[in-house]
Protein backbone atom coordinates (compact mmCIF):
# COMPACT_ATOMS: atom_id res chain seq x y z
CA UNK A 1 0.00 0.00 0.00
CA UNK A 2 1.28 3.47 -0.90
CA UNK A 3 2.34 5.45 2.16
CA UNK A 4 1.05 8.66 0.58
CA UNK A 5 -1.91 8.07 -1.74
CA UNK A 6 -3.10 4.72 -0.32
CA UNK A 7 -3.00 2.90 -3.68
CA UNK A 8 -3.00 -0.87 -3.18
CA UNK A 9 -0.84 -3.34 -5.14
CA UNK A 10 -0.47 -7.12 -5.06
CA UNK A 11 2.75 -8.50 -3.56
CA UNK A 12 5.31 -8.21 -6.38
CA UNK A 13 8.68 -6.66 -7.24
CA UNK A 14 7.93 -2.94 -7.07
CA UNK A 15 9.90 -0.15 -5.51
CA UNK A 16 7.57 2.83 -5.57
CA UNK A 17 3.93 3.68 -6.02
CA UNK A 18 3.10 3.70 -9.72
CA UNK A 19 0.76 6.63 -9.17
CA UNK A 20 2.83 9.06 -7.10
CA UNK A 21 6.24 7.33 -6.64
CA UNK A 22 5.97 7.38 -2.83
CA UNK A 23 7.25 4.37 -0.80
CA UNK A 24 5.13 1.24 -0.51
CA UNK A 25 4.55 -0.64 2.73
CA UNK A 26 3.21 -4.15 3.22
CA UNK A 27 -0.20 -3.97 4.88
CA UNK A 28 -1.65 -6.67 7.14
CA UNK A 29 -5.18 -7.49 8.16
CA UNK A 30 -4.38 -6.81 11.81
CA UNK A 31 -7.93 -7.52 13.00
CA UNK A 32 -7.50 -11.14 11.94
CA UNK A 33 -4.14 -11.72 13.66
CA UNK A 34 -4.80 -13.60 16.90
CA UNK A 35 -1.34 -14.69 18.01
CA UNK A 36 -0.65 -14.61 21.78
CA UNK A 37 2.45 -13.81 23.85
CA UNK A 38 2.59 -17.43 25.00
CA UNK A 39 2.54 -18.80 21.45
CA UNK A 40 5.35 -16.49 20.37
CA UNK A 41 7.49 -17.26 23.40
CA UNK A 42 7.44 -20.99 22.56
CA UNK A 43 8.72 -20.53 19.00
CA UNK A 44 12.27 -20.73 17.64
CA UNK A 45 14.61 -17.95 18.69
CA UNK A 46 14.77 -16.12 15.38
CA UNK A 47 12.90 -13.30 13.68
CA UNK A 48 10.36 -15.72 12.21
CA UNK A 49 8.78 -16.10 15.66
CA UNK A 50 6.88 -12.94 14.60
CA UNK A 51 5.85 -14.55 11.31
CA UNK A 52 2.29 -13.14 11.35
CA UNK A 53 3.80 -9.65 10.90
CA UNK A 54 6.38 -10.60 8.26
CA UNK A 55 5.53 -10.76 4.55
CA UNK A 56 6.48 -14.31 3.55
CA UNK A 57 3.91 -16.73 2.08
CA UNK A 58 5.59 -19.67 3.82
CA UNK A 59 8.01 -18.90 6.66
CA UNK A 60 9.35 -22.46 6.56
CA UNK A 61 11.14 -21.61 3.29
CA UNK A 62 12.81 -18.52 4.81
CA UNK A 63 16.53 -17.97 4.22
CA UNK A 64 17.52 -18.03 7.87
CA UNK A 65 21.04 -17.74 9.26
CA UNK A 66 19.76 -17.58 12.83
CA UNK A 67 19.04 -13.85 12.96
CA UNK A 68 17.13 -12.46 15.89
CA UNK A 69 16.49 -12.50 19.60
CA UNK A 70 19.75 -10.66 20.12
CA UNK A 71 20.59 -9.71 23.69
CA UNK A 72 18.77 -6.89 25.43
CA UNK A 73 21.28 -5.85 28.09
CA UNK A 74 20.14 -4.06 31.19
CA UNK A 75 22.92 -1.45 31.15
CA UNK A 76 23.29 -1.04 34.90
CA UNK A 77 26.81 0.40 34.93
CA UNK A 78 26.14 2.95 32.22
CA UNK A 79 22.71 3.68 33.68
CA UNK A 80 24.23 4.35 37.10
CA UNK A 81 26.70 6.78 35.59
CA UNK A 82 23.96 8.59 33.67
CA UNK A 83 21.31 8.49 36.40
CA UNK A 84 18.94 6.12 34.60
CA UNK A 85 17.58 3.12 36.50
CA UNK A 86 16.06 1.36 33.48
CA UNK A 87 18.55 1.79 30.68
CA UNK A 88 18.77 -1.02 28.12
CA UNK A 89 20.99 -1.70 25.14
CA UNK A 90 19.69 -3.81 22.26
CA UNK A 91 22.87 -5.49 21.08
CA UNK A 92 22.54 -6.35 17.39
CA UNK A 93 26.29 -6.82 17.02
CA UNK A 94 25.64 -10.52 17.71
CA UNK A 95 23.59 -11.23 14.58
CA UNK A 96 25.09 -13.64 11.99
CA UNK A 97 26.95 -10.95 10.04
CA UNK A 98 27.25 -8.72 13.11
CA UNK A 99 24.71 -6.02 12.36
CA UNK A 100 20.96 -5.42 12.44
CA UNK A 101 20.94 -5.63 8.64
CA UNK A 102 20.53 -9.41 8.91
CA UNK A 103 16.93 -8.74 9.89
CA UNK A 104 15.85 -6.96 6.68
CA UNK A 105 18.22 -9.00 4.49
CA UNK A 106 16.74 -12.29 5.70
CA UNK A 107 13.25 -11.13 4.76
CA UNK A 108 14.32 -9.54 1.45
CA UNK A 109 16.30 -12.53 0.17
CA UNK A 110 13.60 -14.94 1.33
CA UNK A 111 11.08 -12.91 -0.64
CA UNK A 112 13.40 -12.79 -3.67
CA UNK A 113 13.60 -16.57 -3.55
CA UNK A 114 9.81 -16.76 -3.33
CA UNK A 115 9.53 -14.51 -6.40
CA UNK A 116 11.97 -16.75 -8.29
CA UNK A 117 14.38 -13.95 -9.28
CA UNK A 118 17.63 -14.55 -11.22
CA UNK A 119 19.94 -12.39 -9.11
CA UNK A 120 19.91 -10.15 -6.04
CA UNK A 121 21.98 -7.28 -4.70
CA UNK A 122 21.93 -3.89 -3.05
CA UNK A 123 23.62 -0.54 -2.75
CA UNK A 124 25.21 -0.33 0.68
CA UNK A 125 27.40 1.63 3.05
CA UNK A 126 28.85 -1.77 4.04
CA UNK A 127 26.71 -3.55 6.62
CA UNK A 128 23.89 -4.45 4.27
CA UNK A 129 26.49 -5.62 1.73
CA UNK A 130 27.76 -8.35 4.05
CA UNK A 131 24.29 -9.36 5.09
CA UNK A 132 22.79 -9.57 1.59
CA UNK A 133 25.90 -11.42 0.42
CA UNK A 134 25.61 -14.00 3.21
CA UNK A 135 21.90 -14.58 2.68
CA UNK A 136 22.27 -14.80 -1.12
CA UNK A 137 25.03 -17.38 -0.62
CA UNK A 138 22.65 -19.44 1.50
CA UNK A 139 19.89 -18.94 -1.08
CA UNK A 140 22.19 -19.89 -3.98
CA UNK A 141 21.58 -16.62 -5.84
CA UNK A 142 24.17 -14.46 -7.66
CA UNK A 143 24.70 -11.21 -5.78
CA UNK A 144 25.79 -7.71 -6.91
CA UNK A 145 26.82 -5.14 -4.30
CA UNK A 146 27.37 -1.42 -5.01
CA UNK A 147 29.41 0.43 -2.38
CA UNK A 148 31.16 3.81 -2.14
CA UNK A 149 34.84 3.21 -2.89
CA UNK A 150 35.82 4.45 0.60
CA UNK A 151 33.78 1.73 2.34
CA UNK A 152 35.71 0.05 5.19
CA UNK A 153 37.79 -2.87 3.91
CA UNK A 154 36.54 -5.10 6.70
CA UNK A 155 33.00 -4.76 5.38
CA UNK A 156 34.12 -5.42 1.81
CA UNK A 157 36.09 -8.44 2.98
CA UNK A 158 33.05 -9.79 4.76
CA UNK A 159 30.80 -9.40 1.69
CA UNK A 160 33.47 -10.80 -0.65
CA UNK A 161 34.01 -13.95 1.36
CA UNK A 162 30.38 -14.91 0.73
CA UNK A 163 31.04 -14.80 -3.02
CA UNK A 164 29.24 -11.57 -3.90
CA UNK A 165 30.31 -9.37 -6.83
CA UNK A 166 31.53 -6.13 -5.23
CA UNK A 167 31.30 -2.99 -7.36
CA UNK A 168 33.01 0.01 -5.69
CA UNK A 169 31.67 3.33 -6.96
CA UNK A 170 33.69 6.51 -7.32
CA UNK A 171 31.11 8.51 -5.44
CA UNK A 172 28.88 8.70 -2.39
CA UNK A 173 26.34 6.16 -1.14
CA UNK A 174 23.61 8.21 -2.80
CA UNK A 175 25.34 7.86 -6.15
CA UNK A 176 25.83 4.13 -5.62
CA UNK A 177 22.15 3.93 -4.73
CA UNK A 178 21.11 5.63 -7.96
CA UNK A 179 23.27 3.40 -10.13
CA UNK A 180 21.97 0.30 -8.38
CA UNK A 181 18.38 1.40 -9.04
CA UNK A 182 19.21 1.73 -12.74
CA UNK A 183 20.93 -1.67 -12.81
CA UNK A 184 18.03 -3.39 -11.03
CA UNK A 185 15.60 -2.00 -13.58
CA UNK A 186 17.83 -2.72 -16.58
CA UNK A 187 18.44 -6.39 -15.70
CA UNK A 188 15.21 -7.06 -13.82
CA UNK A 189 17.18 -8.11 -10.75
CA UNK A 190 15.88 -7.91 -7.17
CA UNK A 191 17.74 -5.45 -4.96
CA UNK A 192 17.05 -5.61 -1.24
CA UNK A 193 16.57 -1.91 -0.54
CA UNK A 194 15.24 -0.98 -3.99
CA UNK A 195 12.56 -3.13 -5.61
CA UNK A 196 12.41 -5.47 -2.58
CA UNK A 197 12.35 -2.52 -0.21
CA UNK A 198 8.74 -2.95 0.91
CA UNK A 199 9.57 -6.46 2.17
CA UNK A 200 13.09 -5.63 3.32
CA UNK A 201 11.99 -2.98 5.82
CA UNK A 202 9.51 -5.40 7.35
CA UNK A 203 12.44 -7.43 8.70
CA UNK A 204 13.70 -4.42 10.64
CA UNK A 205 10.47 -4.32 12.67
CA UNK A 206 11.61 -7.47 14.44
CA UNK A 207 14.10 -5.46 16.50
CA UNK A 208 11.29 -3.66 18.30
CA UNK A 209 9.15 -6.79 18.57
CA UNK A 210 12.07 -8.39 20.42
CA UNK A 211 12.63 -5.34 22.61
CA UNK A 212 9.01 -5.48 23.76
CA UNK A 213 9.10 -9.24 24.35
CA UNK A 214 12.41 -9.00 26.23
CA UNK A 215 10.96 -6.22 28.40
CA UNK A 216 8.38 -8.81 29.46
CA UNK A 217 5.89 -7.42 26.95
CA UNK A 218 6.11 -3.90 28.28
CA UNK A 219 6.15 -0.86 26.03
CA UNK A 220 9.44 1.07 26.18
CA UNK A 221 9.20 4.78 27.02
CA UNK A 222 11.97 5.90 24.68
CA UNK A 223 14.03 4.23 21.95
CA UNK A 224 17.17 5.84 20.54
CA UNK A 225 17.82 4.80 16.94
CA UNK A 226 20.76 5.59 14.64
CA UNK A 227 19.67 7.23 11.38
CA UNK A 228 21.13 6.56 7.97
CA UNK A 229 18.25 6.50 5.50
CA UNK A 230 15.74 6.51 8.38
CA UNK A 231 14.32 3.13 7.32
CA UNK A 232 15.03 1.45 10.70
CA UNK A 233 13.39 4.34 12.55
CA UNK A 234 10.26 4.06 10.39
CA UNK A 235 10.19 0.28 10.78
CA UNK A 236 10.31 0.63 14.58
CA UNK A 237 7.48 3.16 14.42
CA UNK A 238 5.31 0.77 12.39
CA UNK A 239 6.28 -2.27 14.46
CA UNK A 240 5.20 -0.61 17.68
CA UNK A 241 1.88 0.40 16.11
CA UNK A 242 1.25 -3.15 14.92
CA UNK A 243 2.11 -4.74 18.28
CA UNK A 244 -0.23 -2.30 20.01
CA UNK A 245 -3.00 -2.87 17.47
CA UNK A 246 -2.97 -6.66 17.91
CA UNK A 247 -2.86 -6.29 21.69
CA UNK A 248 0.59 -7.74 22.41
CA UNK A 249 1.70 -4.61 24.27
CA UNK A 250 -0.05 -1.81 26.11
CA UNK A 251 -1.09 1.13 23.96
CA UNK A 252 1.04 3.81 25.60
CA UNK A 253 3.35 6.31 23.93
CA UNK A 254 6.97 5.61 23.02
CA UNK A 255 9.24 8.52 22.15
CA UNK A 256 11.37 7.74 19.13
CA UNK A 257 14.71 9.56 19.14
CA UNK A 258 16.81 9.69 15.96
CA UNK A 259 20.61 9.86 16.22
CA UNK A 260 22.94 11.24 13.54
CA UNK A 261 26.58 12.24 13.22
CA UNK A 262 27.23 15.96 12.76
CA UNK A 263 29.19 15.16 9.59
CA UNK A 264 26.01 13.82 8.03
CA UNK A 265 22.98 15.23 9.83
CA UNK A 266 20.42 16.26 7.21
CA UNK A 267 17.50 14.95 9.29
CA UNK A 268 18.67 16.43 12.60
CA UNK A 269 19.28 19.81 10.94
CA UNK A 270 15.84 19.87 9.34
CA UNK A 271 14.19 18.80 12.61
CA UNK A 272 15.91 21.57 14.53
CA UNK A 273 14.87 24.15 11.95
CA UNK A 274 11.27 22.93 12.04
CA UNK A 275 11.25 22.03 8.35
CA UNK A 276 8.72 19.53 7.02
CA UNK A 277 11.18 17.98 4.59
CA UNK A 278 14.86 17.10 4.62
CA UNK A 279 17.43 19.17 2.75
CA UNK A 280 20.00 16.65 1.49
CA UNK A 281 23.71 17.18 1.91
CA UNK A 282 26.12 16.46 -0.90
CA UNK A 283 29.31 15.30 0.80
CA UNK A 284 28.91 13.46 4.12
CA UNK A 285 32.07 13.38 6.24
CA UNK A 286 31.95 11.34 9.42
CA UNK A 287 33.58 8.28 10.98
CA UNK A 288 30.06 6.82 11.20
CA UNK A 289 30.25 5.64 7.60
CA UNK A 290 27.30 3.28 7.88
CA UNK A 291 25.15 6.38 8.54
CA UNK A 292 26.73 8.54 5.83
CA UNK A 293 23.64 8.95 3.67
CA UNK A 294 23.26 12.54 2.52
CA UNK A 295 19.86 12.07 0.89
CA UNK A 296 17.97 9.90 3.40
CA UNK A 297 15.04 8.25 1.66
CA UNK A 298 12.88 8.04 4.78
CA UNK A 299 14.06 11.31 6.34
CA UNK A 300 10.78 13.00 5.50
CA UNK A 301 8.91 10.40 7.54
CA UNK A 302 11.36 10.51 10.45
CA UNK A 303 10.56 14.23 10.80
CA UNK A 304 6.85 13.42 10.92
CA UNK A 305 7.14 10.51 13.35
CA UNK A 306 9.56 12.30 15.68
CA UNK A 307 6.98 15.06 15.99
CA UNK A 308 4.09 12.62 16.40
CA UNK A 309 5.77 10.48 19.08
CA UNK A 310 7.15 13.44 21.04
CA UNK A 311 10.67 12.33 20.18
CA UNK A 312 13.54 14.32 18.75
CA UNK A 313 16.49 14.05 16.36
CA UNK A 314 19.98 14.90 17.60
CA UNK A 315 23.46 14.99 16.13
CA UNK A 316 26.86 14.43 17.76
CA UNK A 317 30.47 15.05 16.76
CA UNK A 318 33.02 12.41 15.76
CA UNK A 319 34.87 13.02 19.04
CA UNK A 320 31.66 12.40 21.00
CA UNK A 321 31.08 9.23 18.97
CA UNK A 322 34.54 7.86 19.77
CA UNK A 323 34.12 8.70 23.45
CA UNK A 324 30.77 6.93 23.45
CA UNK A 325 32.24 3.80 21.83
CA UNK A 326 34.81 3.71 24.60
CA UNK A 327 32.17 4.37 27.26
CA UNK A 328 29.79 1.57 26.27
CA UNK A 329 32.72 -0.83 25.86
CA UNK A 330 34.23 -0.02 29.26
CA UNK A 331 30.92 0.03 31.15
CA UNK A 332 28.95 -2.72 29.45
CA UNK A 333 31.42 -4.87 27.52
CA UNK A 334 29.89 -4.08 24.13
CA UNK A 335 32.13 -3.17 21.19
CA UNK A 336 30.08 -1.12 18.76
CA UNK A 337 30.86 0.37 15.38
CA UNK A 338 30.56 4.18 15.17
CA UNK A 339 26.80 4.00 14.42
CA UNK A 340 26.22 2.56 17.90
CA UNK A 341 28.55 5.23 19.25
CA UNK A 342 26.20 7.79 17.72
CA UNK A 343 23.28 6.28 19.66
CA UNK A 344 25.14 6.29 22.98
CA UNK A 345 26.53 9.79 22.40
CA UNK A 346 23.02 11.10 21.74
CA UNK A 347 21.85 9.36 24.94
CA UNK A 348 24.57 11.20 26.88
CA UNK A 349 23.72 14.49 25.22
CA UNK A 350 20.03 14.16 26.07
CA UNK A 351 20.77 13.13 29.68
CA UNK A 352 22.65 16.42 30.03
CA UNK A 353 19.46 18.29 29.04
CA UNK A 354 17.29 16.33 31.53
CA UNK A 355 15.37 14.78 28.65
CA UNK A 356 14.60 11.59 30.60
CA UNK A 357 12.85 10.73 33.86
CA UNK A 358 15.29 8.74 35.93
CA UNK A 359 13.01 5.68 36.01
CA UNK A 360 11.82 5.56 32.43
CA UNK A 361 12.59 2.59 30.19
CA UNK A 362 15.16 3.83 27.69
CA UNK A 363 16.41 1.48 24.98
CA UNK A 364 19.48 2.25 22.84
CA UNK A 365 19.88 0.41 19.56
CA UNK A 366 23.48 -0.69 18.99
CA UNK A 367 23.23 -1.88 15.44
CA UNK A 368 26.68 -3.11 14.37
CA UNK A 369 29.93 -4.55 15.69
CA UNK A 370 33.06 -2.46 16.18
CA UNK A 371 35.08 -5.02 14.25
CA UNK A 372 33.15 -4.10 11.11
CA UNK A 373 34.65 -0.62 11.26
CA UNK A 374 38.08 -1.79 12.34
CA UNK A 375 40.01 0.06 9.65
CA UNK A 376 38.29 3.32 10.62
CA UNK A 377 38.75 2.80 14.35
CA UNK A 378 42.30 1.53 14.12
CA UNK A 379 43.38 4.94 12.83
CA UNK A 380 42.51 6.35 16.25
CA UNK A 381 44.59 3.84 18.21
CA UNK A 382 47.66 4.78 20.18
CA UNK A 383 50.19 2.12 19.30
CA UNK A 384 50.69 -0.21 22.27
CA UNK A 385 54.24 -0.68 23.50
CA UNK A 386 55.85 -3.92 24.54
CA UNK A 387 57.59 -4.75 27.82
CA UNK A 388 60.35 -7.26 28.43
CA UNK A 389 59.15 -10.66 29.65
CA UNK A 390 60.16 -10.29 33.29
CA UNK A 391 58.41 -9.31 36.50
CA UNK A 392 60.41 -6.12 37.00
CA UNK A 393 59.27 -4.80 33.65
CA UNK A 394 55.68 -5.47 34.59
CA UNK A 395 56.09 -3.78 37.97
CA UNK A 396 57.59 -0.76 36.25
CA UNK A 397 54.74 -0.76 33.76
CA UNK A 398 52.16 -1.00 36.55
CA UNK A 399 53.71 1.89 38.48
CA UNK A 400 54.12 4.17 35.51
CA UNK A 401 51.50 3.17 32.95
CA UNK A 402 48.58 1.64 34.83
CA UNK A 403 46.24 4.33 33.52
CA UNK A 404 47.49 3.89 30.00
CA UNK A 405 44.71 2.94 27.62
CA UNK A 406 45.32 1.74 24.13
CA UNK A 407 42.16 3.02 22.54
CA UNK A 408 41.33 6.40 21.06
CA UNK A 409 44.27 8.51 22.19
CA UNK A 410 43.06 12.15 21.95
CA UNK A 411 46.17 13.38 20.15
CA UNK A 412 45.67 10.66 17.54
CA UNK A 413 42.04 11.66 17.07
CA UNK A 414 43.15 15.23 16.41
CA UNK A 415 45.43 13.97 13.68
CA UNK A 416 42.69 11.91 12.04
CA UNK A 417 40.04 14.48 11.35
CA UNK A 418 39.69 13.28 7.78
CA UNK A 419 38.71 9.62 7.80
Amino acid sequence: MCRECGAIYPLKLLYACEKCFAPLDVSYNLENIKVTREEISQRKKNIWRYRELLPLENYETAIDLGTGLSTLHKAENLGRQLGLTQLYIKDDTVNPTNSFKDRPASVAISKAKEFGVKAVGCPSTGNLAASVAAHSAKAGLPCYIFVPSDTELTKILQASIFGANIIPINGTYDEANRLAAQVAEHYDWAFANINLRSYYVEGSKSIVFEICEQLNWETPDTIIIPLGSGALYCAIYRGLKQFKKIGLIEDKPTRLVGAQAEGCAPIASSFKEGLDDVIPIENPNTIAKSLAIGDPGDGYYVLRYAEETGGTVEAVSDEEILEAIKLVASKEGIFTEPAGGVTIAVLKKLVATNYFRSDEKVVCAVTGSGFKAADTLVKTLKKPFAIDPNLNSFIEWKENYADYRVVFAPEVIQNQRKF
Partner: protein, 91 residues
Protein backbone atom coordinates in the same frame (compact mmCIF):
# COMPACT_ATOMS: atom_id res chain seq x y z
CA UNK B 1 19.38 22.75 -28.01
CA UNK B 2 19.03 19.02 -27.74
CA UNK B 3 19.30 17.48 -24.29
CA UNK B 4 19.39 13.73 -23.74
CA UNK B 5 16.70 12.53 -21.33
CA UNK B 6 16.77 9.19 -19.54
CA UNK B 7 13.51 7.98 -17.95
CA UNK B 8 13.20 5.22 -15.37
CA UNK B 9 10.43 3.30 -13.65
CA UNK B 10 6.86 4.19 -14.35
CA UNK B 11 7.85 7.40 -16.16
CA UNK B 12 9.47 5.27 -18.87
CA UNK B 13 6.43 3.00 -19.00
CA UNK B 14 4.03 5.89 -19.53
CA UNK B 15 6.24 7.65 -22.07
CA UNK B 16 6.77 4.35 -23.86
CA UNK B 17 10.51 5.02 -24.13
CA UNK B 18 13.46 5.11 -21.77
CA UNK B 19 15.55 7.62 -23.70
CA UNK B 20 14.75 10.66 -25.81
CA UNK B 21 16.01 14.12 -26.78
CA UNK B 22 14.39 17.46 -26.14
CA UNK B 23 15.19 21.16 -26.56
CA UNK B 24 15.31 23.24 -23.38
CA UNK B 25 17.44 25.82 -21.57
CA UNK B 26 16.54 24.95 -17.97
CA UNK B 27 15.28 21.94 -16.02
CA UNK B 28 11.94 23.68 -15.62
CA UNK B 29 11.56 24.10 -19.38
CA UNK B 30 12.62 20.52 -19.93
CA UNK B 31 9.97 19.15 -17.56
CA UNK B 32 7.27 21.27 -19.20
CA UNK B 33 8.33 20.06 -22.64
CA UNK B 34 8.20 16.44 -21.48
CA UNK B 35 4.73 16.95 -20.02
CA UNK B 36 3.50 18.40 -23.30
CA UNK B 37 5.07 15.66 -25.38
CA UNK B 38 3.84 12.70 -23.30
CA UNK B 39 0.43 13.96 -22.25
CA UNK B 40 -1.75 14.47 -19.22
CA UNK B 41 -1.04 11.16 -17.45
CA UNK B 42 2.69 11.84 -17.64
CA UNK B 43 2.16 15.39 -16.37
CA UNK B 44 0.24 14.08 -13.36
CA UNK B 45 3.10 11.74 -12.51
CA UNK B 46 5.65 14.51 -12.89
CA UNK B 47 4.02 17.31 -10.89
CA UNK B 48 2.26 17.37 -7.53
CA UNK B 49 -1.02 19.22 -6.89
CA UNK B 50 0.93 22.47 -6.38
CA UNK B 51 2.52 22.18 -9.80
CA UNK B 52 5.97 21.33 -8.39
CA UNK B 53 8.04 18.31 -9.44
CA UNK B 54 7.00 15.44 -7.16
CA UNK B 55 9.23 14.98 -4.12
CA UNK B 56 9.61 11.28 -4.88
CA UNK B 57 11.19 11.86 -8.30
CA UNK B 58 14.92 12.56 -8.35
CA UNK B 59 16.33 14.65 -11.17
CA UNK B 60 19.99 14.47 -12.13
CA UNK B 61 21.82 16.77 -14.55
CA UNK B 62 24.93 15.05 -15.85
CA UNK B 63 24.73 12.76 -12.84
CA UNK B 64 24.40 15.59 -10.31
CA UNK B 65 21.27 15.95 -8.18
CA UNK B 66 19.51 19.12 -9.34
CA UNK B 67 18.83 20.05 -5.70
CA UNK B 68 22.57 20.66 -5.36
CA UNK B 69 22.45 22.94 -8.41
CA UNK B 70 19.75 25.56 -8.96
CA UNK B 71 16.81 23.13 -8.78
CA UNK B 72 14.26 23.89 -11.53
CA UNK B 73 16.27 26.94 -12.61
CA UNK B 74 19.36 24.83 -13.35
CA UNK B 75 20.66 25.70 -16.80
CA UNK B 76 21.21 22.89 -19.27
CA UNK B 77 23.28 22.86 -22.43
CA UNK B 78 23.51 20.85 -25.67
CA UNK B 79 24.61 17.27 -25.07
CA UNK B 80 23.81 17.45 -21.35
CA UNK B 81 22.15 14.34 -19.94
CA UNK B 82 19.16 14.60 -17.60
CA UNK B 83 17.87 11.53 -15.72
CA UNK B 84 14.46 11.29 -14.05
CA UNK B 85 14.45 8.46 -11.51
CA UNK B 86 11.84 7.58 -8.89
CA UNK B 87 13.51 8.16 -5.50
CA UNK B 88 14.81 5.08 -3.71
CA UNK B 89 13.55 5.02 -0.19
CA UNK B 90 16.65 3.99 1.64
CA UNK B 91 17.52 1.00 3.69
Amino acid sequence: MSIKILLYGNLASIAGISSTNIDANTVSQLLDALAIRYGEVFREKLYDSNGKPRRFINIYVNGKDYRFLKKSDTEIFPNDEVSLIPAVSGG
